[in-house]
Structures are given as C-alpha cells and as structure tokens.
C-alpha cells in the first residue's frame, strides 16, 4: 500500500506517497520528477542510477524507498547548489560526455570518490568507477577529468585553509 513518506532530497524535505518496495529511482523520476537520475538496468549492474544516500554512492534502482527514510538523498540536480561542481567543470573541460546518458551516474560516483579520497590513484579511480558502465566509452576522459577535478579541489582546499 502507498504510504506517506518524507525525505531530504538535495537538502529539501519532500513528501511522497509510494509503496514501500518502490525503488528510490522511480520515486525520484516518476513521483518527484527529478529525471537526472537514469534507469539503465534495474539490477544495480550499470550504475546509471547512482545517487548519494547520506553521502555514500548507492544504486537507486534497487534501493527500496523505505530504506531511504530519514536519510538524506543527493542527486545530480543537487550536486552543486549554484553553478557547476568542479567535477562538472572538469567534465566540460575534457569534453567527457558523448550520448550523456550515464553521465549523472558517473559524476555522482566520482563525487563520492573525491569526498572519500581527495587524491585518488589511477587504480583507485578505476576501482571506484568500474561500477558505472559507459557504452560510448568515455572512460579515458572520465579518468582525466577526475584527476583534474581532484587537483582543483585540493588547491581550493589549500587556499581556503
């Protein structure tokens, strides 16, 4: 049965009526009309639906909405409050996107990586990002963009310290 649920989504409290087992992905896309998070496989295999749940990357397509209750969800729409996140800037600088469909998931996974590890090694980047498929093959540019965004973020942190 549908029940009334309250979430923090991109820092805002939102109410939805949804069945308990409805995956967060469809709550976001079809009920809250946040369509930046993408459907790719429905089985946590491709990572196109990656969002942050309390800061951790999760696959929204298999996360029942009840498990997000009382937690904070961040999607591509809320990656940066205003303007572009340094990763999004690096993505444009390296012209990463091709068809663009998987890029929300790639960016959310990359943002979670840089939260955890401000200076990831190439193998840490590969390990963190290999869960997100890109059929267009933007992997070489994703690697490069993460490296330059990480450098930019570290500089910004040093300057603000």
């Amino acid at each position: 049965m549908s029940t009334y649920k309250t979430f923090s989504i991109n820092g805002e409290m939102r109410d939805v009526q949804a069945p308990d087992d409805m995956p967060l992905l469809w709550v976001l896309r079809d009920l809250l009309k946040l369509r930046g998070t993408k459907f790719g496989c429905g089985k946590a295999l491709c990572g196109a639906c990656t969002v942050h749940l309390d800061g951790e990357p999760v696959r929204a397509c298999v996360l029942p909405v009840r498990e997000a209750l009382g937690k904070s969800v961040r999607t591509i729409e809320g990656l940066e409050k205003e303007g572009l996140h340094p990763l999004q800037e690096a993505w444009l600088e390296h012209q990463v996107s091709q068809c663009g469909y998987c890029q929300s998931g790639q960016l959310m996974a990359a943002a979670a990586l840089l939260q955890r590890e401000p200076d990831p090694t190439p193998s840490e980047i590969d390990a963190a990002m290999s869960g997100i498929l890109c059929r267009c093959g933007t992997y070489p540019r994703i690697r490069a963009a993460i490296k330059s965004a990480a450098a930019r973020l570290r500089t910004a942190r040093r300057e603000s310290a």
Partner: protein, 728 residues
C-alpha cells in the same frame, strides 16, 4: 537553447520560404505554410533554408536532421554553418529537425535515417550552401543600407563588415533579409577552405552542459500530463502464442490502470513505471513457443552455417579464377572465423511516448529513423502521415538499435495507444534492460570460410571467401543495398579488401533463420575485418614475415591504397612497432577502409597465465577533412571501447530460439578497469570528409587477437575472447 524538445515546429516551417529551399538545394518543405503565419514569423526570424534559422536576438540555430546520439553531429554541423556564415561560435545553437523530406538523407533515397556514418559526408556541402546563401543575403541587406557594393562587404563575428569600418550585427539585418530571395545555387560563393576559422578547430559539444547537469533531454525523460507508462510482457519469439495470463493479478497492483493484449504481447499500463512493471511481473504469463524453425539454438545455427559455407553462395565479387586455382593447388590454407550475435545495449533502454492531438499525434523519442517512425505510427493509428509529428530527443546511446528496420518500439507504442484511445492520455512505453538484450535485432552471427593458396613468394595467389550471415537490409527500406542475393552491408570490407590477390572470389549465403538481425555500429565490416585481418596475419606468420611488412607488400604501390598505407605507417610508428617488449606482451595490427574512412590500429596486449589485458590501442585515422578534431578523437575512443566490448565479451547465445543473456551480468560490457590507453593519430587532409562514428570499430578485434597470437602462438578464430578459455 539546444534541446531538441524545444523545437518549435511552427517557427521553423513558418519561417522558411519554400522557394528559397528549392532554389538552394532542390529540397522542399514538407508542407506549405499559410501567408499569415509566414509574415508573423518573418518579423522575428530569418530562415532562408530548412537547415538554418537566425533569430532577431542573433542566435543562429542549425536545424539538424540526423540524430544526436553522442557522435557530436549537432556540434559538427553547427561548426560548418558558423564558419561559412561568419558567425561567432557563442551565437550557435542546434536543434533536432522535424521528420520532413527536407532532412532526408539523399544517399538513402531521402529516408530520414542516421546511419552508415553519413551525416558529415552528406551534409557538409549542403550546410555550407545554406549558410553561404544566408551570408550573401545578410551582406546584400547591409550593402544596400550602406550604399556600397556587396563585393566590398564580408561577414565576421556575427556581423556584416564593410568599407571604412562599417559594421552591422546579423541581428539587426534579420528582418529585412527574411524578405529577400536567396541566391540560386550557381551564384553561391563558398569560402575558400584555407580561410576556415572554425572547421578544423576543436569545439566543445553544444549540449555539453545539459549532459553534465542531468537535464531531462532523453526520450525516457518525457513527462506529459496524465501520461501512463506501459510495460509489455513481450512474446519470446515472433510466432509464440499467448496461452494464459492473469489480468486481475496485474490489475490488483496499486496504480495499474489497464492490461491489454497487443500484437507483440501483453501490455500493462500504470500511473508510473514501477506500477506498470510490478503489474507485468504479476501476469503469470505463459506462452506456447513458436514454430520449430524458430527454436534453433545458436550452436545449431552455427552448425548449419558451417555446412552452408561449403556450398557456393551468391556471388559478390570475382576476379580471375580463384576456384580453379584452388582446385589445382597443391596446398590450400583453409580457415574459418566466427562472430556471434551481439546486442547493441544502449544505456538508455528503448522507449517511446505518443500523444494524440486534435487531428494527429505527437511522438517523442530518441530515434535514428524519423521517416519510418512517422510511417509506422500513422499506420498503427490510422492517421495520414503528415499528421504525425516526430520530436527527436537526444539518444541515450543507440549504435543502430534506435533505427530498427521495422520501427518496433514506435509500432508497439502506437498499438497500445490505439487500444486505449478512449482514455485520452499519452502513453510512454518503456522497455526493461532484459527486453532490450533479449529483444533480437542483433548484429548478425557470421561464419567466414576462407581458402587461400600462396605463390612461391609467400603471398596469396588465390583467395576464396564465403560468408554466411543473415541480411540486415533485405526486409527493410534499405533493400536497395541488396542485389543478386548479396546485401552490401554483409560483404563490405571483404569485397573491397585492399590487398592485391590475382584470383579472388567472394560469395554470400544469407539464410533467413535464426535471431532477427539489424545494423549495429560498423555493421558487416566488423565481421569482414576480423576474417580478413586475422587471415592476413596468419599468412604473414606462416611465411615468417613481419605482419606489417607483409601487409605493406600486399598494399603495393597502388595509388588507391596511398591513404591506407599512410595510416598504417602512422599507427605502427606511434605504437613503436618492432620495439622490444617484456615477456608476455606483444603488438597486433589491423587495417581497413570503412566506407571511405581509412584506419589502422595497433593493439598492445599483456598475457599473464590465462588472463589477457589490453594495455593500449593506437589508431591512425584518415577521414578526409576533419571538422571537429576533438570530436573525431572522441569517436575513435568510443569505437575502440565499443569494439573491445564485442571482442572480449560480446555474445548472445540462443537456446530454443531464445536469448540466454538478459542483462549486464551475463551480457558484460567493457568497464573502466579493463579499458586500455588509447592513442589517436589524425591525418590532416583536404579530401572530402568521410564518416567517423563507426570507422574505428572493426579493427579492434583482429588487432587484439593478432597481438594475442604474437604473444602466445595461440590463434583465436571465434569471438568473443572469453569463450576461448582466456579471461579478460
């Protein structure tokens, strides 16, 4: 704005002057426009041609017929327009055209279909013509105002510039220019390519920002008031019959609205995707499987192909007396190379949304084939085709799939809509990943039998190649590519093999059984390149020649091979062919001319035990004049990752006619950790531009497998790698 969804069909068609379009290119608009609308539009926009619109705010919009599926066609065509027009890049935008004859592909009899990497070769000249006409008209207006000769004026930075520092922005000339007649084609003055300022420079993708900020720009993101989502339990085989399903169980799922039989299966409609999908899961559907001919396994099909390959097929090419030479030869080298079915698996699952309007319908989807979509929807809904509006959104990948020969997704969605017309709501039909992987229309399985006899010097004397593969084109609107039983897309790359062989024959069997097939990025060239480049490599090794030297010898000094030889030289130089490598590492090479684009690749692999790692792929490519160098580089990178997925993992197996694979767990794609370093070397060329979306796919498998042979002495003649006992 660049979103195709924001296209105003009215402003485009109303703003166009029919005579202008006809004068410039002999194209015509789909429908006449009434004078009132035209006058109203002319006041604000200048649209001298179907491809171009300049609005009063100075925005220059390129109206693009081909689909933007990641290949960068919006940006590349806008670059051509900007350069020829003399516009600032920052003033440029692009949007998807409607489905209309003006945007048809002249190479394909006017079908509006994005395929065979033809967008740039086909539209390079016509975009320049459109922009040149607009430039000349803007100049004429400014010259009249200034009372100077047009010959003293030019355009730059979105302005007309004239003598003594005169300068007027396009935006201030637009309304007056719109009232003028465009110059006839024979009077068009095209820029000298040496004066290009934008073509040949790397430009960022116009829709780049939308793609990094999660904007709802894809078909699946369409959201219309009252829209219902459909999930279809589809027939497992075309002739399967529905035995039983539980309608009430599906209807009991909250937010499920309707359940109905349609020709392709049983559709469940819900207020959102999850309801439709959950309802579908409750159907408890049972099928009576199709006719025995449909129930073949891929192993059985391969066995039949093997037998067929021993018989003569439909002749594609014959030079000299290959059969006779082989019959007399003391020793014949016979080899077989096999490619399995593979699925396109674009990241965005297939989908389509249709809404009825007062007298027709509107379709929103990512599509490579607007002209067919229009036709198919019109037929299913009983509408005249000119009442069907196609809104092409960005494609979340496609690789051929969104241009299926039968318009399957549109047809199915229209059939659902026809069944629930009384509800008067738009229908969004969403396939699951399993629907996609199991849905057929694969790259054809192909079996190649090659027989060769060598001259005393170790080079081929006679070469007989038989291909067995289903024809993608024969039952489609592209059947003009099939002649005398030979589908050109099955034989390309083998028929035009660049190596000199005195006695050559190529024939094709195109059986009609097995999985349904269609074009997939690089189409038959992936098969022929694997067969030809593997065998050439085998011949080089068997005669103890260096594989590059062997190829160079066979390319000879034939002038038609000049550009191919050049890319081979560039690739091997960049990759360091011949350098000493650590134990377990080796290089492999492959080359091919893909419908005019010449490429050579060198793969570097490392093999430790049974584990293969592709470390680096170097590609040298000559696609004629390069419009957007970074765009070309991106397409080569993309093609290599795509080709490597197929080479290492790609296989759809059939069991009783049904695909065993269903999602990315059993149908893996290349992931970042297995993705090689990629080096791209581009040839600077003034030749006419040729396509780039597919041209670097075919080489990957043979280059990698040739490298594996060089490292291990093990020759793999069947894709994918993981079926050979090796890991990747």
């Amino acid at each position: 704005m660049n979103s195709p969804s924001q296209l105003s069909r009215r402003s485009l068609l109303a703003g166009g002057t029919c005579g202008a379009a006809a004068l410039i290119l002999g194209f015509r608009f789909a429908r006449a426009t009434d004078g009132t609308a035209r006058r109203a539009a002319i006041a604000t926009t200048f649209s001298p041609h179907a491809f171009l619109r300049i609005s009063a705010d100075g925005k220059v919009t390129t109206i693009v017929g081909p689909a933007e599926m990641g290949q960068g066609v919006f940006t590349a065509l806008a670059m051509i327009v900007a350069d020829e027009l003399g516009a600032n890049w920052s003033d440029m935008a692009a949007e998807a055209s409607p489905a209309a004859p003006a945007y048809g592909n002249p190479l394909f009899g006017g079908l509006q279909a994005t395929n065979a990497s033809t967008s740039i070769p086909v539209f390079y000249e016509s975009m320049r013509h459109a922009a040149a006409a607009a430039r000349m008209m803007l100049i004429a207006v400014a010259a009249d105002r200034w009372g100077v000769s047009e010959n003293l004026c030019a355009t730059a930075e979105s302005s007309v510039v004239g003598p003594e520092g005169r300068r007027t922005k396009f935006s201030e000339l637009v309304s007056e220019a719109a009232g003028r007649t465009p110059p006839a084609r024979e009077f068009l003055k095209l820029k000298d390519p040496k004066d290009f300022t934008i073509i040949g420079k790397s430009m960022p993708r116009l829709e780049g920002r939308q793609k990094v900020t999660g904007q709802p720009i894809f078909g699946l993101d369409v959201d219309l008031p009252g829209m219902l989502t459909a999930s279809v339990a589809r027939k497992p085989l075309p002739n399967a019959r529905l035995k039983v399903f539980d309608r009430s169980a599906a209807l009991a799922v909250p937010d499920v609205v309707a359940v109905m039989e349609i020709p392709s299966g049983v559709a469940v409609l819900g207020r959102h995707y999850w309801a439709a999908r959950s309802g579908r899961d409750k159907l408890g559907i049972e099928w009576e499987l199709g006719e025995p001919a449909e129930l073949l396994s891929s192993v059985e099909i391969e066995g039949r192909y093997r037998e067929l390959a021993r018989l003569p097929g439909s002749v594609s090419a014959m030079r000299g007396e290959a059969a006779g030479e082989l019959a007399q030869a003391g020793s014949v080298i016979e080899r077989e190379y096999v490619l399995p079915y593979v699925a396109h698996a674009p990241m965005e699952p297939l989908n389509c949304t249709i809404a009825l309007s007062a007298d027709g319908c509107d379709i929103w989807l990512g599509t490579q084939y607007q002209s067919l979509d229009k036709k198919v929807a019109a037929q299913a809904l009983g509408l005249p085709a000119d009442k069907v509006n196609v809104h092409t959104l960005y494609l979340g990948g496609s690789f051929g799939r969104r241009g299926s020969p039968d318009g399957d997704v549109v047809k199915e969605t229209a059939e659902i809509l026809a069944a629930v017309r009384h509800l008067q709501v738009p229908i969004r039909n969403v396939w699951t990943r399993e629907d996609d992987i199991r849905g057929g229309l694969y790259r054809p399985m192909a079996l190649n039998r090659l027989r060769v006899t060598l001259c005393e010097d170790g080079y081929p004397k006679a070469w007989a190649h038989t291909i067995v593969a289903r024809s993608p084109c024969i039952h489609s609107e592209f059947s003009f590519l099939v002649a005398n039983g030979v589908d050109e897309t099955n034989v390309a790359g083998a028929k035009d093999m660049p190596y000199a062989v005195p006695h050559f024959s190529l024939d094709l069997h195109a059986p009609e059984y097995g999985a349904s097939v269609q074009w997939l990025r690089a189409v038959g060239n992936s098969n022929t390149c694997f067969a030809v480049e593997s065998l050439i490599d085998e011949l080089a090794h068997s005669t103890r020649r260096d594989p590059v030297a062997y190829r160079r010898h066979l390319l000879g000094d034939n002038q038609k091979n000049t550009r191919l030889r050049h890319v081979l030289d560039l690739a091997v130089a960049k990759a360091g062919w011949g350098r000493a490598l650590p134990q377990g590492r080796a290089l492999g090479v492959a080359l091919q001319d893909y419908w005019g684009t010449k490429a050579a690749q060198v793969a570097e692999v490392e093999i430790i035990g049974d584990s293969v790692r592709v470390l680096r792929i170097t590609c040298a490519i000559d696609c004629g004049r390069v419009i957007n160098p970074d765009g070309v580089k991106a397409q080569v990178e993309s093609a290599i990752v795509f080709g490597l997925s197929a080479a290492l993992y790609g296989e759809i197996e059939l069991e009783k006619g049904i695909a065993k694979q269903s999602n990315f767990d059993d149908y893996p794609l290349l992931r970042m950790a297995a993705s090689p370093e990629i080096d791209v070397v581009m040839v600077a060329s003034a030749e006419p531009p040729s396509g780039i979306g597919e041209a670097a796919v075919p080489h990957v498998a043979p280059a990698v497998f040739n490298a594996i042979f060089a490292a291990t002495g093990r020759r793999i003649r069947r894709l994918p790698l993981v079926r050979s006992g090796l890991q990747a």
